[in-house]
Amino acid sequence: MTVTLDARIPAGPIADKWDNHRFSTRLVNPANKRKYQVIIVGSGLAGASAAATLGELGYRVKVFTFHDSPRRAHSIAAQGGINAAKNYRNDGDSVYRLFYDTVKGGDYRSREANVYRLAQVSGEIIDQCAAQGGPFAREYGGLLDNRSFGGAQVSRTFYARGQTGQQLLLGAYQALARQIAAGTVELFTRAEMLDVVLDDGRTAGIVVRDLVTGAVTSHAAHAVVLATGGYSNVFYLSTNAMACNVTAIWRAHRRGAVFANPCYTQIHPTCIPASDEFQSKLTLMSESLRNDGRIWVPTDPDDTRPPNQIPEDARDYYLERAYPAFGNLVPRDVASRAAMRMIDQGRGVGPLGNGVYLDFHDSIGRLGADVVEERYGNLFEMYQRITDEDPYRAPMRIYPAPHYTMGGLWVDYNLMTTVPGLYALGEANFSDHGANRLGASALMQGLADGYFVLPATIGDYLADFLNAEPLPTDHPAFVAAEREVRGRVDGFLAVSGTRPVDWFHRELGKIMIEQCGMARSRPGLEKAMAEIPALRAEFDADVRVLGSADTVNQSLEKAGRVADFFELAELMCRDALDREESCGGHFRVEHQTADGEARRDDDNFAFVSAWEWQGDDAPQVKVEEPLVFEHVELAQRSYK
């Protein structure tokens, strides 16, 4: 059985689509909204903003987070800022330009209508966040400050020091708190969603495990919204928080939600390199560092002198050399691959040879240490704390690290997955960033989905179910799903093998970063597709999870997440293998230009690859959603 993908893109000129759609969408009468129960899983920017807004509208909402508080969601770690087409700078920005830049930045693999809507609501997001008390950076006149970010030609990024994600998340969290106090939203903390329950092909609710007591319970609703973030932790080492995982959307995928573009992953160029094998995560440093830092490696791979003793003529400023127009400000994917090439040539620096230099010597000379400190002081401090090296004296060492996943559950224009009544928001869906996300766009998308899109589109689905009670949780569908969840949890405990969960996760990560990371090749991907099931089999036979299921058991939680990562990893490789082109974050070595740049194949691959689950015994089947570009002209990206 194969689903047909209907993106339900409204008709009409692109600028009017969202307005037309909102007008033609069915509404739920204010007095009737309280008759609907909506479940939201995840409390990051997308989940918290959606929950707060649906609560304000009068829906009955339940929010589930596996953290101890909604405020811990990983959105909090976003540093740089949030884009909005406000044109406060009068520098030529517009909704259309933000739309255009985002489609181009995504390497022409996103859906035009979605991106245009994102640009349209971007301004309202800033209004909303400022009114909530978001302490954005301001000028002396009291108005909002902007900066240019990620190589954009206009200054459209709003920011709150290096903590923009934190401030936006706290704003959404506080709006959510207000609704909790008002009684419209019920909060469940330390509660992990482990299954979606369907009845007659529609979403009926979810099964949740309480991470403190181990109790497995069901919650029924008219609609379920997954806002559970991305899956970069499939690489083990990434900039994501430790608990970030794919389980919620993977469970939904197994229940019929098709998974789109799993191979589109973003590797962020400015992270601190790993220092030892026990490293648990990689720390990202804001990409703004590239505004003033110069990236280089020694020309001679055998040059072991300390960086300050290497003379100018023995340094290779490889980005400035290869991309004279953009220099150190080339997009993330380009900068990351260039660093990888340097390291592959044996020119990496640092004790493990796994970094490149990011040098502020010239900027300190040109601007003075004061100015550099004012701009980057907190980042320098963070770097020094982690590495014990002083970036004012010696260049920083940086290395690319998995950071964001553009792929996710396939959704239509309403953000509904292929399972009726099941929605996906934010990084958990695939919709707006194509094959590569621009800096400061993740916060924009999460909040657009949660504050403005879902609240306007969900009524269209709910309208059909007025006065229909949610399925009772003692219905056989729930009982069966609970039994399955318990069986799976107990299964991990029963293996009693010899190796901890983390060992398997690390091994999986090594395979993935090696074969499905910054550069992918057919032989590498085929190798990975052989290795992953073997490792999975070993995991099933030899994982050691101690303790019991009825108390806090962090290894047990992790076992379930890693098991799902195995299945995802296979699909990522299959998707990467299938996409015989290079685009954005997906780089196939077979498809590059003579000078090593990505070569897209618009004739054959201008589509979304959506994968449909076929059961445990058969590989997923690919369904294509063709991408039609009516407004943006497809061109080869060039940053020379």
Partner: protein
């Protein structure tokens, strides 16, 4: 796991309502503290009359009792204007401290193995004890000089401030007690005279640094002023 539910607690109107809150008690402590500090300072300055000899200090003592005469009866202003308000301030200060101490003990759950304090000073961590010592001393002090209880000060003569002073402070144990008590008072004031600004929300980057300096200077002057008299008695400068 759903989160724990809050215990119900709502504000009640009126000044007593404010006092029912912990912050209200902190205001009460700070305001009564200001009053007690003013008193302590005036008392210390008054004590220095002892250096001027028996007539001067005895006259000063009598003058306090005669305050407001002939408009008011003798000792009336002393009672209504000073002693009763002081007693009320003290009662409020002690009650608030007692209630907050109970609250704070309840808010804790066990202690750490080898707690390492980085900011809290000796003075701030001993407020409870220096307060209790000062209070106990006050009882002794009143028995010694105001009420003239014979077991405390056998040579007490009502009205002879100078004589009573020497008779009491000549004795080594009493001298030691006074020094210790003044030490406790000094520590209490050292933290209290800074703390009251925080409790009352008197905070401005323009003068914040002076608050600590004020407290230190105030505590030093008060303690120094108070201990000069017993030391002078011991050294025979007074007597």
């Amino acid at each position: 796991m759903t989160a724990t539910q809050p215990k119900p607690r709502t504000s009640r109107p009126g000044l007593l309502g404010i006092y029912r809150s912990d912050l209200g008690k902190k205001y009460a402590m700070a305001i009564s503290g200001v009053f007690l500090l003013l008193f302590v300072f005036a008392h210390m300055v008054g004590n220095l009359h002892a250096f001027e000899g028996p007539e001067q200090i005895n006259h000063y003592g009598e003058a306090l009792r005669e305050l407001g005469e002939p408009l008011l009866p003798r000792t009336m202003l002393l009672w209504v204007g000073l002693r009763i308000p002081l007693a009320i301030a003290l009662a409020v200060h002690v009650h608030a401290a007692y209630a907050l101490t109970l609250t704070n003990l309840r808010a804790r759950s066990g202690s750490y193995d080898g707690r390492n304090y980085l900011a809290a000073g000796y003075a701030s961590r001993t407020m409870r004890w220096t307060g209790v010592i000062t209070l106990l001393f006050l009882a002794w002090h009143l028995a010694d000089f105001t009420w003239g209880i014979k077991t405390v000060n056998p040579d007490y003569v009502r009205g002879d401030v100078y004589g009573n002073l020497i008779a009491s402070l000549e004795r080594w144990p009493v001298f030691a007690l006074y020094l210790m008590a003044m030490g406790a008072l000094g520590l209490h004031v050292w933290h209290g005279a800074w703390s009251l600004f925080q409790s009352l929300g008197i905070n401005n980057p323009r003068f914040n640094a002076y608050r600590r300096i004020f407290a230190i200077v105030f505590a030093t002057i008060v303690t120094g002023g108070f201990v000069t008299v017993p030391i002078a008695v011991q050294l025979g400068i007074i007597g």
